[in-house]
Subunit: 336 residues, 2 copies
């Protein structure tokens, strides 16, 4: 048998603030032969996501931290190149959590079928039909309990999750959808292709003022990808009984001292607000409902999506830090 | 018929920051004769509560602001001195919302029977058996969804609501109850008479550090009467899945710029926390369940309470500002 190697990325230091190339090193590992029940997969696309920054810290969180000296992992899709399991045949396309590498292998239970769908890239299983889409769907419906007629605000609205939030909110009956993004081009994308009612560029400053202008009757639901100044603006803009689904706090992920100080928290009391943080680890039971909705929406064109594709396994770390800076439009993907 | 007058307090200016005697003036009003269906009540005890500070501002909140040039109102108990309604006879004791005055009158529907209970002052209907008690009960059970074995933290724990929270939490199965208060004497009261497991004086500073020391395994439920630094400390101390019932933000009620900046909000995401603000306007349906619990607990001595009684209707405003400063132990009451 020829030797098979896998390019991987080991976490060698815990980032203090923004991760640097000193924290992560590229390694090439020789893979053992497959054991009974195992499969080997050539990855085609990798996902880089904000939550990975949290796992680089050694603090308790909803998923355990990455271990120092071990390879990073994440969502990926690829095709089976060798199988010693009856569950998968060579050529089957699969999704799994052994990303940040070009070749992955393990017991068949670690892999799940991910069919190639007509007119869609395989990477859709990492974005609209994957973690981005279900995160948006669960946040809006289960966590924020979206009601018909609600005004919905989503921050980081041009990202993988945010672009899904705005479109799903409209399809689920929101009367007004407002988004923020980090460039004029993204703002145009929101009100154009993604059909938001209003959008603004948070890099222009005065997030509170811009949100008030875009939602002058207040907001009922806030889907938070950003934290910081955005969360503060939402607290100030909420109508009575408002609900926030807190999905990300990218503004604070690199913070080392508790992050931004959020004002207007006393509105939580006076307006009877509910803020709920959530992560998909606890909501897998909604996958079938979500998939039924999203497959229909993708098929009939109700939902559109973008990907920012970085090519080459060696650029995975750059893709990650670029995503953290907001370089992406839609889901950030690494194509191998 | 002799003329009947009522001493009342009109809001004449909206306080900017801490309310002063320039904002509220004492007036004596001549009352009209009773119309059919009305009753007249001599108040015996008045309640002064933190939420009243919010009503002095002209901003939307869960209850409308007090109107300028009109008399303040609030919870009160007293006895009927004249009745033109079949619902109440002279001598009946009642509770109602026409406080901040010595004589109140209106349609019988504005009054509710409040029996004198053996061994308890009539003012118990303003405290343990009234708004303080039900606020604690609803916050713990309905909002924070207290579970057996939870560690519970309550701020402002020696006040009217806080002292109920700690005792109800224990009776409902909390394994550890921690409180903060604003003096060494109050801290002693918490761990003594109210049987908290641990308590600290927040005026000693470092609320985060003191909370970590008092609840080294983290907290599961936080009942917030204070906001500000206390809310920040709770966010830092929460275990995964922690729940906060936000009842008050007394630290921020006099704020004019959005209040304190709260750090550690990104923990809401990473630990899957839920923060819910609530006010009793929306939870009246729990009154029968609450009353059944509390009457039993008061009768068998499971729950004890304190009152700080200020005597004299003319001291009502001072009682209010004193309560806002934390001068009270247990419920702040004005005896007329």
């Amino acid at each position: 048998m020829p030797t098979v190697t896998s390019i991987q990325f080991d976490l060698v230091a815990r980032p203090h603030g923004e991760p640097t190339t000193d924290d992560v090193v590229r390694v090439e590992r020789t893979l053992p032969e497959l054991a009974d029940g195992e499969v080997r997969v050539e990855n085609e696309f990798l996902s880089v996501d904000p939550y990975m920054r949290g796992r680089m810290n050694d603090v308790r969180s909803y998923i355990p931290p990455f271990a120092l000296g071990e390879a990073l992992t994440g969502a990926a899709v690829g095709h089976v190149v060798e199988s010693r399991s009856p569950d998968f045949a060579v050529g089957d396309t699969v999704q799994h959590q052994l990303g940040w590498r070009d070749v992955a292998q393990g017991p068949s239970a670690a892999f799940r079928a991910a069919p190639r769908l007509p007119g869609l890239p395989l990477s859709v299983h990492l974005g609209a039909l994957g973690i981005s889409g279900i995160t948006a769907w669960v946040g809006l419906t289960v966590i924020a309990k979206l009601r018909k007629g609600d005004t919905v605000f989503v921050s980081g609205a041009a990202g993988g999750v945010g672009s899904m939030v705005g479109q799903i909110a409209r399809l689920k009956g929101a009367s007004r959808v407002v988004g923020s993004a980090g460039s004029a081009e993204k703002v145009e994308l929101l009100t154009g292709k993604y059909r938001f009612d209003a959008a603004f560029n948070y890099k222009d400053g005065d997030v509170r003022g811009q949100l008030h202008a875009a939602a002058s009757d207040g907001i009922d639901v806030y889907f938070d990808n950003v934290g910081g100044e955005h969360l503060e603006a939402a607290l100030d803009a909420f109508n009575d009984g408002g609900r926030a689904a807190l999905c990300g706090a990218i503004a604070d992920y690199n913070a080392t001292d508790g992050g931004s100080g959020i004002r207007f928290t006393s509105n939580i009391v006076t307006r009877g607000l509910t803020l709920q943080g959530f992560t998909m680890t606890n909501y897998g039971q909604y996958a079938p409902q979500f998939a039924a909705d999203m497959q229909r929406w993708l098929a009939d064109g109700s939902i559109v999506f973008d990907e920012t594709v970085v090519t080459g396994i060696d650029n995975t770390f750059d893709a990650f830090t670029g995503m953290m800076r907001g370089d992406n439009v839609g889901k950030m993907i690494v194509a191998i």
